[in-house]
């Protein structure tokens, strides 16, 4: 027997037997949750769109043109390219990573505590793990779009020397964002009270990551005792890959493998931890 198209089900007017519905939910539950979350985003679609376009324009003008005028009066070029080319791929990665913290802190708490959106699906055959993965998937989809918009704005500024390979910036941005997002989701799921935890993450993790992870200047100009902030942050690993894709920055192949493995490891580790916490907390 062939599997019926799940998308047509809602319109078919035919209600499948309960056992079959449950089986479906057990298989596609993660996507059901992702879809519900994405539909929820429509409520604030206008600010999201505004931000997705406004943010790259603002940052590229301010850093790529304004700050660049000071750099050209100082050292001139950075990493053998002009400052706009140097900073643009890094801005893509770090702004996308920064935005992910908005989707992986309070919305997670809201799912468990304020609106308790997680408990409905958890009472159905959809498993706690699928809810965690579904939330993750929805956020990944949002930031795929946001990365792509940033990429388009970058091209409008002429900020990539290799237009074709620079398309890889989109998956790289998403990879870096979700590496941080998965870890943050797992952490946010453990938070039970709305205290200072999320403000602290914002202030002592997200902010330093933006500032110290080699976005605005190569990590090597910082004193060694500050460089470790870059090494452990997904932003730096993503940024290094993004620079290779955007203007052919010279990075050793083995180091590129390290960057990639680091990001993937964050995603896998974060998701495994997240699924475990969701399971414990949703009592499944």
């Amino acid at each position: 027997m062939t599997e019926p198209d799940p998308t047509s089900l809602a319109y078919s007017g035919r209600i499948p037997p309960h056992a079959q519905m449950a089986q479906r939910a057990r298989r596609f539950g993660w996507w059901y949750y992702a879809e519900a979350y994405l539909r929820g985003m429509r409520a604030y679609a206008v600010p999201i769109a505004f931000y997705a376009v406004g943010q790259p324009v603002l940052y590229l003008v301010a850093m790529g043109i304004g700050l660049a005028s000071l750099v050209s009066g100082g050292v001139g070029t950075v990493d053998d390219v002009d400052y706009l080319t140097f900073v643009a791929p890094a801005l893509l990665v770090s702004t996308v990573v920064m935005s992910v913290s908005g989707e992986m802190t309070y919305p997670v708490m809201s799912g468990f505590k304020w609106q308790r959106l997680y408990y409905g699906p958890a009472a159905s055959p959809v498993s706690a793990g699928q809810i965690a993965v579904g939330h993750f998937t929805a956020v990944a989809i949002r930031f795929t779009l946001q990365s792509a918009i940033f990429w388009a704005v970058m091209q409008a500024f002429g900020a990539s020397t290799q237009v074709l390979t620079s398309l890889l910036l989109v998956p790289i941005g998403v990879l870096a964002a979700m590496a941080f997002g998965a870890l943050l989701q797992a952490y946010a799921a453990t938070v039970k009270d709305e205290g200072f935890q999320f403000s602290f993450v914002q202030r002592f993790v997200v902010m330093p990551m933006f500032l110290f992870a080699g976005t605005f200047f190569p990590l090597s100009v910082m004193p060694v005792y500050l460089q470790w902030i870059g090494w452990i942050s997904p932003v730096w690993h993503g940024t290094q890959l993004a620079r290779v894709a955007s203007y052919g920055a010279e990075v050793d192949p083995w180091l590129m493998a390290v960057h990639l493995v680091f990001l993937l490891a964050c995603i896998v580790g974060g998701l495994v931890a997240g699924v475990r916490v969701y399971r414990r907390r949703l009592g499944a």
Partner: protein, 284 residues
């Protein structure tokens, strides 16, 4: 026992003995008891959120470390007020102080006020007592100023420790930070009183980010075409940044007075508007 009074009793007597001197025109707006609002504010800080408050101090410090040290390596020296070359760290430090005064005041007078106004209904409760709208407005704004004062003091200490303070005028940066905070807090609260939904609150972010990026914080505004420069100069943060920068090296000109005047005007406008709005909202 008769000679020994408890402090509270003494205080109450002193209050009773001193008649409130409220100008006749303000009698319907104020009971002269701003202190009650402040007392509540400090109790909240002590019991709930002093950690968040203290951590806010680190934000400009991180910026100064990252941009001052890292970008400083790329930029070298830049032209300071009066044309003398200064290090990049010394160039951006006063701008970061002005920005942090703005951020603190805006946060306190927008999100914080919005929550109390629309969700906690705190002001409604306050105005059921003998407090008038002017008491409430002043009390909330003074709390924002207290925070600005503490941050400015801390940041000035960091600047001194980093050897970035070269003039005694730099001491005036603390009261000026309070003045900047006053302007933003007064106007911010007035604007917030018009906003009714979270989506509208996002407007504030849309204004703050470009203002921060373009107000000569990280590079001089001379890189822009003249039209854009005029736009930037109309924004309050630019005046704050210029004012701070002049004070940091002790280069005062006629423009200094203009900047101070801008904030004095902004404060007056904000206070008037806030009071009018609170009266319209609650004392119909």
């Amino acid at each position: 026992m008769s000679t020994q009074q408890t402090p509270a009793a003494g205080e109450a007597r002193a209050l009773a003995a001193r008649p409130h001197r409220i100008p006749a025109g303000l009698a319907s707006l104020s009971s002269g008891n701003v202190r009650a609002v402040l007392e509540r504010g400090f109790t909240v800080i002590r019991n709930q959120n002093w950690l968040i408050l203290v951590s806010g101090f680190f934000e400009p410090v991180f910026y100064l470390l990252a941009m001052g040290v890292g970008m400083g390596m790329l930029v070298g020296e830049v032209e300071g007020p009066g044309g003398a070359p200064i290090t990049y760290a010394a160039y951006i430090a006063p701008a970061l102080l002005a920005t942090s005064a703005m951020n603190g005041a805006i946060y306190d007078s927008t999100w914080n006020v919005f929550f109390k106004l629309r969700f906690a209904k705190l002001y409604q409760a306050m105005l059921q007592t003998s407090l008038g709208p002017l008491d409430v407005a002043l009390g909330e704004i003074l709390m924002a100023l207290f925070r600005g004062f503490v941050y400015a003091l801390g940041f000035l200490g960091v600047l001194a420790a980093m050897g970035l303070v070269t003039s005694w005028w730099a001491l005036a940066m603390v009261p000026v930070a309070v003045l900047i905070a006053f302007g933003f807090a007064a106007l911010g609260m007035a604007v917030t009183s018009y906003l009714t939904s979270f989506q509208q609150m996002d407007l504030i972010n849309f204004l703050m980010l470009p203002m921060f990026l373009f107000s000569a914080t990280l590079y001089p505004i001379t890189v822009y075409p003249e039209v854009v420069q005029w736009l930037v100069m109309a924004m309050p943060l630019w005046h704050g940044v210029e004012l701070m920068r002049q004070l940091s090296v002790g280069h005062l000109t006629g423009a200094t007075l203009v900047h101070v005047g801008y904030f004095a005007g902004m404060t007056a406008l904000g206070l008037w508007l806030t009071t009018v709005r609170l009266r319209a909202l609650f004392l119909r």
